[in-house]
């Protein structure tokens, strides 16, 4: 019995030390990984929406999607996941829709259709048939012999999901993204004073004050943030740039995209009030 407790305690010590070491490594690497995934997502979205410079995850009526914006913060398109019931089980796909409401991208990400027959629906020549379709179009495509059920599933599924997504996100999903939306930016008509603004950063809210005097941004004071220290030092450079250029249309700091984007957004939010 005593032996059992001793061994249990020793194993526990191992686990505690291991957990601490992993937590530390994770803290260091998760930022780099998140930063890279962000860049990869931008690259992936840029293929669908060439004018994209930034994106945001938004949820409207229980559906989430990635909403893309261009340099002037205008809505350029939306990418969302859709599902349909195929012959062999659920088929999930990514659907990209541009600001004109046309399908610009369709990729099957997971399916369990019959190999050699139904699984042809994931091939580019098949999915490309949906490109350019928009509200009011018929969503019928060429049939594949031996795969009628799978093809029908895609036709009805893509049409249904397209309608659901477009209904929610045709305006960029502004209704649902209120908390982190990026309102149009203009210094005109902004009276002198101190404006508080908040936006979500990598680890939590970033709160700051924008001081406007004589129609110009004269200072930006960050009052609260929980970002990682060394990333934050990089991200803060964006503040100097905003003041120098008197606009929020500045580039994010590479290596600290999420934090510096959050600063830009917080300033926008402050001045939009």
């Amino acid at each position: 019995m005593k032996d059992m407790i001793r061994m249990g305690v020793i194993l526990m010590i191992f686990c505690v030390v291991a957990a601490a070491a992993l937590a530390y490594t994770n803290q260091v690497t998760s930022i780099v990984i998140a930063e890279r995934l962000h860049q990869e997502k931008v690259a992936q979205l840029a293929e669908l929406f060439p004018t994209l410079t930034n994106f945001e995850e938004r949820t409207v009526d229980g559906r989430s999607a990635t909403v893309a914006f261009d340099a002037e913060n205008k809505f350029v398109g939306v990418l969302a996941e859709g599902q349909t019931e195929g012959y062999g089980g659920p088929i999930s796909f990514n659907l990209g829709i541009n600001a004109a409401g046309e399908i610009v991208g369709l990729t099957v990400v997971a399916q369990t259709e019959t190999p050699g027959l139904g699984d042809k629906i994931k091939e580019p020549w098949f999915t490309e048939q949906f490109l350019g379709k928009k509200a009011g179009d018929t969503f019928t495509v060429d049939a594949i012999s031996g795969a009628t059920v799978s093809v029908k599933a895609m036709e009805t599924g893509v049409e249904r999901e397209y309608n659901e997504i477009w209904q929610r996100f045709s305006d960029g999903g502004a209704a649902g993204g209120a908390g982190n939306a990026a309102p149009a930016f203009s210094l005109e008509g902004v009276a002198d004073g101190t404006y508080p603004g908040t936006a979500k950063g990598f680890k939590g809210d970033i709160t700051l004050e924008v001081i406007v005097a004589g129609g110009k941004i004269t200072a930006i004071n960050v009052t609260a943030q929980q970002e990682t220290a060394d990333r934050w030092a990089d991200a803060e450079k964006v503040i100097g740039e905003i003041i120098a250029k008197q606009t929020v249309q500045v580039d994010a700091v590479s290596g600290a995209t999420i934090s510096s984007d959050a600063i830009i957004k917080a300033v926008q939010n402050a001045l939009a009030q």
Binding site: A21, S30, R36
Partner: protein, 199 residues
Amino acid sequence: MSVISEFSKGIIKENAVFRLVLGLCPTLAVTTKAEFGLGMGVATSAVLVCSNLAISLMRNFIPAKIRIPSFIIIIATFVTMVDMLLNAYMPALHAQLGIFVPLIVVNCVILGRAEAFASKSPVVHSLADGLGIGLGFAFSLTLLGAVRELLGAGTIFNVNILGAAYEPFKVFGSPPGAFLALGLLMALVNMLSKKYKLE
């Protein structure tokens, strides 16, 4: 045995892949190219050196009855750290090695060295053993990757060696080719070590 011979034995005499025939799962699976073999070899070696060091340091503290779970916790911790670091700083290699990085946890080279050597030997010897075996493992994987890449694609480390006229043996890039290449290399290593009396 001296520290130096503990180190050098792992490179040829007790080479993990060609002589002990351990850790074949990643050896066969990832060596489609020399760079993947090298990446996997270095990742495994890093874990091996760290786990040998840690286990040797704690060898008098770990009760015999729970040594295997203790070793697994130590090894799994290092593997997960390597996995995170690769994901953060070498994403291309991480994507290519995929599931084989977390599978280093059950790599029998590492558990074998922990059980057979580090848990019974002083720290310096264990470190030398880990470095030697790790280097031998990395070398073997790189060699196997280079041979498969050369025959299967005509290149080594993505540098074209055999020229455009060479028609590649596609089979060496596929799993059966891994067995063929490993068998041939093993025969060659055996022959050479007999001839030069490296036993």
